[in-house]
Amino acid sequence: MSKRPADERLRDFGEVDLGLSEEEAVVEAQRCLQCKKPACVGGCPVCIDIPGFIAAVAERDFRRAAAILRDQNMLPAICGRVCPQESQCEGVCILGIKSEPVCIGALERFVADWERAQGIIPPAVAPPTGKRVAIIGSGPAGITAAAECARAGHAVTIFESLHEAGGVLTYGIPAFRLPKDIVAGEIEEVLALGADLHLNHLVGRSVPVEDILAYDAVFLATGAGLPFFMGIVGEQLGGVYSANEFLTRVNLMHADRFPEFDTPIVRGSRVAVVGGGNVAMDSARVARRLGAKVYLIYRRREDDFPARHAEVANAREEGVEFLCCANPVRILGGPAVTGIECVRMEMQDPDMSGRPTPVPVEGSAFTLDVDVVIEAIGQGPNPLLVSLIPGLIRGKKGNVVVDEDGATSVPRVYAGGDVATGAATVIWAMGAAKQAARSINAMLEKS
């Protein structure tokens, strides 16, 4: 897949990856071995018939390819762009053993974009059942469940606390990775099935819990939006951001275009981003686009970055400087940030996840001169609503506990996505939502 050159893309928020042309897609699809027992399908959290859609691409039957994708994946244009394919379908592709795996993600994206350009054929909607379903949150989990329940003929109402729908897809993932018209398009389609969307409604505050529980079924898809802070000295200084705040100011509020847009941001000339996941990479690349020199500080090794490989490569090309095996201990300055003090980390015996445990090296402290610090060290479920629902059982990390059907401990209340798993991925959120929606539809059919 071709990409725009780094110096060009640093000047705007336009998409970095340009996607495959029709010819490229067909040639790529023809590389697929069409395995009898396809490992890729097992690697896909929602079990897309990958060889099936790829065969259709190879035959230039893009409409059929799109239909096969849509069977399992409501949001192919999004997943094709943001799924961690290297640890899913592409990671187990047989071709990958000797050479390069088939670019399944790029093919998925190609088919989804082709379909959007041609006009999507909306799925059939069952006649109205008179049953009401409340969906809380409009991220990938919420919109997927809304679509499934609306198709079954239920009256679906989506509640979203922000002024725009999409959850992390809108406020978190920057436009250079996921153009906002694609997210808006996917949401439009769901609304076209008859679902209602109430923006600016914080459930638990604008809508009392009793009113929500009066629906025939409820799907909690409130995500994992609560940012964690490191808890080190200096965190309250001006110029210290959670990644959520930094990204929201830019992606949702357009602070990059201040003062044309009213929301300000401390751009910084030298920025330290802490973390090694997608959120950290996105923050670093946004900070680069705002004109800063950017260090990314990560306590493990570069091989351990949990971020998508492609985004690590993009960040490097865009000039983000990686400082691995390092950990901040103190933020310096007052009232504004002037620096960050870190220590070197040494990798010792593997922990339960199999990754080595980072341990601080004594006497290794060093200081970086920076004027902005962005903490991207993780998020947990926002407790606001879930703590208000009587009898709702939550796990240690505040995640809502669900069974394999997506049902919670409260009758008729289901949950899925990051609120149940903790911060995870778009495709897992979607898969969980689909399962929960099936359970809801089955329950409503019986009642």
Binding site: R205, D262, A336
Partner: protein, 281 residues
């Protein structure tokens, strides 16, 4: 879209707006706030809910920054793009006994709703409101109607007691039994006034107003240090135990965007001039 129903400039540069927002008005309780965004280009700003009436909410604000200046120029019939709320935890209303509710400056606007709910819960409520001069004593009649007793003070002595609410509070604390105190106003005023009740060990609430973005606990912009811990004012507050709050840090964080705010206001005025609109006088 949320329609502006009524507007008034109740004191020099201080505005009172009624906004039609049923989802907020129907569920709002004392101490809560809303976040609004005027238009596509707008920022999200928090404003405390000063009263509700049916499907409408009242907010009171001083036109200082770009957003409040733009808002102040709007008229009844025009609409605000986004209003979300009610946000934050309601005030801790219960039967305390005798309560003092103190408002300073624009903060006075938030006191009648608290005083009323405290009254309804069976408390004796003493109100103390203070402002620069007589012209800035907002909602005085409303407070007088609601409270068992109202003390008025002005910095310049143009009405009532010549001095600060802190002086009145000090005197009351040494002469009568008080069970709980609310103080709402600028951070510095809350810091000083709550310092008065600290030696008496009386529960004192302040309503914090740090810079916010979402107002739902998602960004951490509103973080404050209370009792040595980081709390999010928009979901854990906005009211906190005054004697645990790090006010100096709050005031420092409120100033982070000082320069940007000035630039935004300049940009707004320039833009207004080019369009030949208001602000060109």
């Amino acid at each position: 879209m949320y329609r502006i129903e009524k507007t008034a400039e109740t004191a020099d540069n201080i505005f009172e707006f009624w906004i039609h927002a049923p989802h907020v008005a129907r569920h709002a309780r004392a101490g809560q706030f809303l976040v609004l965004r005027i238009d596509e280009h707008g920022e999200r700003i928090p404003l405390t809910i000063s009263a509700t009436d049916g499907d409408s909410v009242r907010v009171v604000f001083m036109a200082v920054g770009k957003t409040t200046t733009q808002l102040a120029a709007m008229s009844p019939g025009e609409s605000i793009r986004d209003v979300v709320g009610p946000l934050g935890r309601p005030s801790e209303i219960r039967k305390w006994g005798t309560c003092v509710v103190i408002g300073g400056g624009v903060g006075i606007a938030c006191t009648p709703i608290i005083a009323r709910e405290l009254k309804e819960a069976g408390n004796t409520v003493i109100g103390i409101i203070g402002a620069r001069n007589a012209g800035f004593l907002l909602l005085e009649d409303e407070m007088r109607e609601t409270c068992d007793e109202l003390v008025v003070c002005t910095d310049d002595g143009s009405k009532g007691f010549h001095g600060f609410p802190a002086d009145i509070l000090k005197e009351r604390l040494s002469t009568q039994t008080i069970d709980a105190i609310w103080i709402i106003g600028p951070a510095i005023m809350m810091k000083i006034t709550s310092g008065v009740s600290r030696p008496f060990g009386i529960k004192t609430f302040v309503s914090l107003n740090p810079i916010m973005v979402d107002g739902t606990g998602m960004c951490g912009s509103c973080r404050v240090t209370v009792g040595g811990e980081t709390r999010f004012a928009c979901v854990d507050g906005p009211e906190f135990d005054a004697h645990e709050v790090d006010f100096d840090e709050l005031m420092q964080r409120q100033r982070i965007y000082g320069d940007s705010e000035r630039r935004a206001l300049e940009h707004y005025h320039e833009h207004q001039c080019r369009c030949g609109g208001e602000g060109h006088e």
